[in-house]
Subunit: 137 residues, 2 copies
DNA sequence: TTGACTGCAAATGCTTTGCACCATT
DNA sequence: AATGGTGCAAAGCATTTGCAGTCAA
């Protein structure tokens, strides 16, 4: 099943109505290969339906975040919120020179984090890992 | 040497003038055992000198961040920026029930992060690790 | 039909800034 | 004396919200 279809189904399962703006925003998110800002989602969605407003983009993104379908990021040195589909679990390496983002996942890291929390008497719910660096020369 | 004295020296070394508002803010930060918001720093600093303005608190905190003397946090589900002295390297476990913050550091974790970045072709500059969870029952 | 959804514009809330005055060096 | 720092109020900007009209179910 395609990404967008999955999203639409998830929304419908949650009892939400499938409107043109929502479909457009879901399509944008489903096709995004980056971590677009609200502004960027707005611009891309407008290419599909020029009547979509910023308010709807904000409302839709919050809603999707609530449903755990997207992840809301706020990286350092970036006043803009960025969003990404929660398709797979991973973390980010931010290139401090060009602000590009590389994704990675590592089971050893996951285990270590869970262990650390356990030692401190907590059950882990989620975590945020951001590594900042520069390309090796 | 006491914390506040170290901060004052660091500021002077950076060529900054030591004014009453700055001294008050440095004292607040030096004595804080938590991660106060700008508003909280403002309130506490005002107890020492009631003429201090928010603008100065913002300006001073940005300045200290610039000098790498404090760390600027923006935790999830919290629209307020929070600040803490950069006295030691550590990360945070955020209690999702009461928003308390537990600090920890772990050399094994540090090494693993450095290794992961290296595998991806990066030299690590810094990182942000936040673990969210609930107390074990 | 009807409650959910939308666009619009106004409001909000955190943060920054221009300016005239003041204090540290 | 000179430069940098300050308070105040206004401006900025991302985000949220009230409202009246609109649309999916």
């Amino acid at each position: 099943m395609k990404c967008v279809e999955f999203l639409e189904e998830a929304c419908q399962r949650a009892g939400l109505k499938m409107t043109t703006p929502r479909r457009a925003i879901l399509k944008v998110l489903g096709e995004a290969k980056d971590h677009p800002s609200v502004e960027e989602v707005y611009t891309r969605a407008n290419a599909l339906d020029s009547s979509i407003s910023m308010a709807t983009v904000y409302r839709t993104l919050s809603m999707l975040e609530e449903l755990d379908l997207v992840i809301h990021h706020s990286f350092k040195d970036d006043t803009n919120s960025r969003y990404e589909l929660r398709h797979s679990h991973h973390h980010h390496i931010i290139d401090m020179d060009d602000h590009n983002v590389v994704e990675f996942d590592d089971p050893r890291l996951e285990k270590m984090l869970k262990d650390i929390m356990s030692e401190q008497g907590f059950d882990m719910v989620c975590h945020r890992i951001e590594l900042y660096g520069r390309k090796k020369s």
